[in-house]
Symmetry: C2
């Protein structure tokens, strides 16, 4: 560690706290929702906003990288020959804000209440992306140099499952070549203890439609005599899980690596207030027997229906028999699992249980990404461990994320490099839900840790990351 | 029968065919959707439109009758002392037009294709309402007199289950006093043979919401560890029916009168092309074992989910675990059944099957109306039978409607009088669905039959209807 060297950087960042929050708010005011084509102009505005900042604060070769979908934002600083090159990953797109009526403040008008900054995308992941960028800018502003070479890569399709990310990286492989990835996405697991993310679940998605007639029918004229798409869809979805919470799809976890003793010990060591975890969101613990609640959401695969609809859903009563019903489903997969195989097992289950007289159609299917894993002795893990020990005084606990950061697998497959998830959001910040927020205090903790992390990574030989 | 007397009326109506169609189209252009408060101004326009016509063509005391909800339109001609007084019932409100994208022509721009006039409300029931009104106007225009006293009563809440109809009739009981009701709602059962409607199923409605958490949760962070409102709602709705189509709610049909031998014979005599009935709408026959398809939809109770929704239903993927799910349900009840008891049995079933950790809330519950029945020797049936025999040459078959015309029960309870359903719509006209239409040819058949019907009813003593 070279604490003397980074002192001016840390001091600069300290002084800049209000400016950093101000810039983050401007970023959050841009409703860069990638899932809905209606927001495309705002996606473009978010890209312009980032490019302008990267250029202004010392990055070179700033440009948009096209892959066939939403372009990514790129910029570089390569003034440290012989030092490792780190690809800094973040994403500028956010989840849709609906249901809008449940927001207490406008989702795209960032609102600070105490230490909390409320806005869609604040925690996922404009806040942590801002933290990473500000550290690079601070090194360049104070030292005219970084301890490592930097390639900034801000994606625009993370919230839609990164459909064209592979194509984009393959097209721009030479530009993106690096020794490792530092991801602003994939946050802290606990506000109480330091943690290092050593992996995440993968995912895959499926949307199906079930049809029982050519048109909606009058429930008086046909009621009792025909199939009802809503009845059939309900019955079909009800077969996916056993009453005890186990997934009832044949072969669903056949390829899932059983949790290792080390993983189960780490999970048990993690300070996890089970009652608080569920009470905070008014939920009830419910899941696969034989595993603790925390094991269920980090070490075991899961299957969730994310949306289900059909028939009349407006005000009042409409006495119809719906001719079609739809459902969106996603799976979370763990180490060892092929997400394509798993989502096809779900589809095969649905087809096998679809009654005669009802037709099941696949509307969309995305194979997503497998789970990711970082070995405990990897230089990224060791560097992060040293940084967090310096910051906190305690040894960080290794944890795995229940959520997916598919980019980790994509970078491994396409560029052959590993990813350290080093985001500073916390797990209670209502990502993907109304009233998402980011803690203002996480900006200060984040920029200090990222400053030390870049410094620590500068001590390694580039080859060490590929060992 | 006094054929000579009514010849000028029939001739007048014959000459007026294009004008009748023209007026009906203007009526259909008014989007009088009662279920959606956004359409309230159009409801008012529809009332004005009717009042103006009633006044212009000879009805007296034309006014709006308030009952706390959408007002009804009233007008009278009481110039036949000693003759029976008939309340002519229709409704000016229509079903919502959605799903709009499935209409081939704009739902509120009536479009004639061959003999078919496409528009929301064409068949249900502005077409048949127009038929009834034009006959009254034609008697007054040609003979300056009607064979019976007339009270026109056009409701505005039929498509929302007539929530304030009882209150409205009770408030205006003296004005509405009559010997019997002729309803333009409740149409013909077949295009091949003449039929008389001797009853209809009743109905009741329930909307429930199921909640499993205080907010939507990220499916990565919580997936596999918490209840999912969509899973629980699917499982709950799946318990309502057995796989063979039988309703699985305890006590659901306890109070249902078993079909009589006469009813089963009538049903068997009805020319019913089972394959065509289902093929026409691309549906599969499915229902309670032990009954023919036609018996299931006319003589047996039914339970249908009319709408089901929760979670993310927009474009793309949103990886959430929904905290709530909703469902709209209706029942159809038969002779002997108390709809309030039946809908409460459904609710009790849902409560009994709701898993711990999920909270079931009643959003709305409407007791609706019981089934209605007209005895085979009732003067209304005898008069209709004579008219249809004259028109067609064959004896009409007695049929029961699967759909509900709750006003029949309401008029019986509040005014103590019986209702003859004498609508001229046909069963294939896609009511409550996209591309609803009415046959232009039904206007001619309808006005002839209604002319003869009013004439035939004028031969009875008023007391005969109360026997």
């Amino acid at each position: 560690m070279s604490d003397t060297l980074i002192q001016p950087v840390l001091a600069h960042l300290d002084a800049r706290q209000p400016l950093i929050a101000h810039w983050l708010k401007a970023f959050l005011r841009i409703p860069s929702v990638s899932a809905d084509p209606a927001f495309a102009p705002h996606m473009a505005r978010a890209r312009d906003f980032l490019c302008e900042r990267l250029r202004r604060d010392g990055l070179h070769n700033v440009q948009l990288l096209e892959g066939g979908g939403e372009p990514a934002v790129y910029g570089e600083w390569l003034g440290a020959p012989g030092k490792p090159t780190l690809l800094i990953y973040g994403h500028y797109d956010v989840q849709p804000a609906d249901p809008l009526e449940l927001w207490r403040t406008p989702p795209f008008e960032p609102t600070q209440v105490g230490d909390r900054l409320y806005a869609r995308g604040a925690s996922d992941v404009k806040g942590s992306t801002t933290v990473a960028l500000e550290v690079v800018f601070a090194f360049l502003a104070t030292l005219r140099s970084c301890p490592v070479n930097i390639k900034v890569f801000i994606e625009g399709e993370e919230e839609t499952g990164s459909p064209t990310l592979r194509a984009l990286i393959q097209r721009h492989g030479a530009l993106l070549a690096a020794d490792a990835v530092l991801s602003a996405d994939g946050g802290r697991a606990s506000a109480q203890v330091p943690t290092i993310n050593t992996g995440a679940r993968g995912n895959a998605a499926l949307e199906v439609r079930l049809r029982t007639a050519a048109k909606d029918l009058h429930s008086g004229r046909y009621g009792g005599g025909v199939r009802n798409a809503l009845h059939d869809m309900a019955a079909l979805l009800a077969t996916l899980h056993a009453a005890d919470g186990r997934v009832a799809v044949a072969g669903f976890d056949d390829d899932a690596a059983p949790p290792t003793p080390r993983q189960r010990q780490d999970t048990a060591a993690f300070p996890y207030d089970e009652a608080a975890f569920f009470d905070d969101v008014g939920a009830t613990s419910h899941g696969e027997p034989g595993y603790s609640p925390r094991e269920r959401i980090t070490l075991r695969p899961a299957l969730d229906v994310n949306g289900m609809w059909g028939g009349y859903t407006g005000a009042g009563t409409k006495t119809i028999i719906a001719c079609e019903a739809s459902a969106k489903l996603t799976v979370r997969v763990v180490q060892g699992q092929d997400p394509a195989r798993v989502i096809r097992a779900v589809l095969a289950h649905l087809r096998a249980h679809c009654p005669p007289g009802a037709a099941l159609e696949v509307v969309a299917m995305h194979d997503g990404s497998p789970a990711s894993t970082l070995a405990p002795d990897h230089p990224l893990v060791r560097a992060a461990q040293a940084v967090l020990r310096t910051e906190d005084g305690r040894d960080p606990i290794h944890v795995r994320l229940g959520a997916s950061v598919p980019i980790t697998s994509v970078f491994k497959e396409t560029l052959g490099i590993d990813t350290l998830m080093f985001g500073f959001n916390l797990p209670d910040e209502d990502v993907h839900a109304p009233n998402e927020f980011f803690r203002i205090g996480s900006i200060r903790e984040g920029v200090q840790a990222w400053t030390r992390l870049l410094d620590a990574l500068g001590q390694y030989q580039p080859a060490a990351f590929r060992a």
